[in-house]
Symmetry: C2
Subunit: 457 residues, 2 copies
């Protein structure tokens, strides 16, 4: 069979909204160059002046996963995959008693005790009950299984809601800049108008900050007064690295100022891909949908039912995340140790990277309070900007490419996410293994100092 292409289909005959999408997931030239360098390294380890490419990107862009531990979660998932284990005596030597009990409970919630069937398109009801209980105890407010839609990660329900809410370019979506490509892609795909607003770097995620409760109240009031639907990406609710701040859901904040479902339409997204567990490959997630009329709720259900159901393992894991081992359970000590170990390691990585960035000429970076990303700014010398322009490259992409070429470190230019005009940034994550951080930092410092020297006017 010849490799080739039938005559019919050209890019011009495809959906122009898809074609118009920027190739975010390749993150443009930087990531393409990183990939070719990695391939070079694999085929000829001696060629560049370093031994590996270090991705300081979002994990989905780097395809370099964190190897999470999560013993209790994995035990329960394995038992649910192969329930026959629950009938065998050797199982008690291999699995903790609370994992066995939890798997029994979960299988009891599923018709036929099998994870092989489709579930209700919102997800298994008993798992949604557990998640609603977890939300209620987190917020001190009621939560209902009927409002929970279990989904394949958090990207799927964001696409669902965008699909439902957007008619055409007359519909605008207020979106913080820098933004996650998930949101901007979704808007471009549906033809909505992006209504951007710039984050104060010292105050908002995705620049690594935790919103203050006061700021959240202002957002709630704005949405209430203007009749806006609030789509709250709350996937980093467990990733907070400062004692001075805590996670407050928008639902809780709205409740605290007396606003309930009659006042604000609110969708909260969560997933199993972050927190300390970082189980990105499981594609577990949920959205909690509150403050919609029953007619609109029917349409939410209709969009959700376009796919049969989300994967059952992801549903189970989402329920475990919202209902982890408790004090007194056999797994509690190891669960707590894993959790605290991972979160404090992330915190130390963040601190080391932030303090490095802040020590360098022309760079500044907000203290990482939460989430997994940093968004340092770099005041690029005029000669570097001219050199970039001469190559028809965004100055921050020029910086990132030079960084990659000389160190193998991959970051994403700020222009991919948006930034205040005239400022230059890059985005990186705090996810590299902690033992690699010192080497990454020393290579980064050496590059940056040489770069600033080279383009000094």
């Amino acid at each position: 069979m010849l490799r080739g292409a039938a005559r019919a289909l050209t890019v011009g005959s495809l959906n122009p909204k898809v074609v118009a999408l920027a190739d975010h997931h390749l993150a443009g030239r930087v990531a393409r160059r990183a990939q070719s360098m990695q391939e070079d390294l694999e085929s000829n380890p001696a060629s560049p002046p370093f031994q590996r490419v270090d991705y300081l990107l979002q994990p989905q862009q780097s395809a370099v996963p964190r190897a999470a531990a999560n013993k209790f979660f994995r035990e329960v998932l394995a038992l649910c995959e192969y329930p026959h284990l629950l009938d065998r005596s050797q199982t008690s030597f291999l699995f903790s008693s609370d994992a066995i009990a939890r798997a029994q409970d979960i299988l009891g919630l599923i018709p036929g005790r099998s994870t092989g069937g489709y579930s209700h398109c919102q997800g298994i009801e008993g798992l949604r009950d557990a998640i609603a209980d977890g939300i209620a105890s987190r917020d001190g407010l009621p939560s209902y299984a009927d409002d929970i839609f279990l989904t394949d990660g958090a990207a799927a329900p964001v696409h669902m809601m965008m699909h439902l809410l957007i008619r055409d370019k007359e519909d605008g979506i207020l979106c913080p800049i820098p933004s996650h490509s998930l949101y901007t892609d979704s808007m471009v795909l549906r033809g909505a108008t992006l209504v951007p607003y710039y984050l104060d770097e010292s105050k908002g995620n995705p620049t690594g900050q935790v919103l203050s409760e006061e700021n959240q109240c202002e957002i709630v009031e704005l949405c209430k007064n203007e009749g806006l639907v609030l789509l709250a990406d709350e996937v980093y609710q467990e990733n907070i690295y400062t004692d001075q701040k805590k996670f407050n859901s928008f639902k809780k904040v709205a409740g605290s100022i007396g606003h309930g479902e009659g006042d604000i339409s609110l969708v909260s997204f969560h997933s199993v891909s972050n927190g300390y567990y970082g189980e990105c490959g499981r594609r577990g997630g949920y959205m909690e949908v509150t403050g919609f009329s029953s007619e609109v709720r029917k349409e939410v259900y209709k969009v959700a039912s376009l796919s049969p159901c989300s994967n059952i393992s992801g549903q189970i894991l989402m329920s475990l995340v919202m209902n982890p081992p408790k004090v007194g359970d056999e797994s509690y000590t190891s669960y707590r140790a894993e959790r605290d170990g991972i979160l404090s390691s992330l915190s130390r990585c963040a601190e080391a990277m932030v303090s490095t960035f802040n020590s360098l000429e022309g760079m500044s970076c907000s203290k990482a309070e939460g989430a997994i990303s940093l968004f340092p700014s770099v005041r690029l010398p005029p000669q570097a900007i001219s050199a970039a322009e001469a190559m028809n490259t965004e100055p921050d992409a020029f910086y990132a490419l030079r960084l990659l070429e000389s160190t193998g470190i991959v970051v994403v230019p700020g222009s991919v996410f948006g930034q205040v005009p005239g400022t230059w940034h890059f985005k990186c994550t705090i996810l590299p293994q902690e033992e690699k951080i010192p080497l990454i930092i020393s290579r980064f410092k050496a590059f940056h100092e040489a770069f600033m020297e080279e383009f000094r006017s």
Copy 2:
């Protein structure tokens, strides 16, 4: 917090293409009534004249899964979920040796040996290699990992391709009627024009038939000559119940008449939800994309990359389905026995149902050659049609509702899927447990005879 709705959002401010979608997944009044009857039964078991509601629907509509066995598959999945098991001596007592070896192989394909990370957005490369090998040995033609996109079931890639291929209502999609709601929904959502053609009931799935190779050749020639993209739903490739027919992929058929990638753009969809394994809840699937130009292929990739990756367990299971135990492997005998047992049970269920339908007044049903559905026709008496019209109900929905009310048996009216005007059908699956079939059949027969008697003119 008050339960209610904020003022902003009405159905009128939602995406009209979503609102225009029929509520297929509720399958209208019949399924809603079935659900309320089931709830009545649960709260008051004595009320209706039967003890349970029997869903003869697609499993996703009934939420009553088949409890599949699939021992080898589940063993491998459990070991991949919790790889720590591979280091323990007791594991050899609990798992078969080839499942252990396979799990080791699969983990070796994944960076970090962890299923917890995102994969490449097309799926783990080594798993795509295994799937391409399986396709190649099935068809006797080369298949390439680069052409495989691992997906959450087969619904996701169908939506992807529709999303990519449809610009507006000037784009038409030729679609067999009766159709699966996945396809018609997808077209409505993207605003394409449905170009329907009626299946000859005796010759095409979803009426339970296996296409002849000659018919497939005609379809290939039509697509080649008219420059049409062929979207081939090949999810029932293992569900064939007759010795006279076998599954031929459209890729193989095209190859057999000398057509390769330069002649026809072809997408083949497959999933882990059917076959004998029926692992619907795993949401594993793939599409194989051939005969597209490199520019168009980039756009396919772009659509796929809108979500980070499909769930890794589903990816693993899809690779197992395409590369099951072989002769000589420890699990081969039990795998073969399970597989043959389930497929022959499905075949017997189908045969019993088909011969019942054909024995009844005014009914006819094609012999079930493959897949999981039957689509019997019912010549409804004129008085039944008048009674339905008086209730402003489609005559086949009227029949289905009466069937439900008097027997608890749930089928889907043919009008949901489309049918030749003036004919009436219902769709049912062959999935009920075999031991329940005699009772279902006797209740069905009694109902049908009484119905025909009641409306006899």
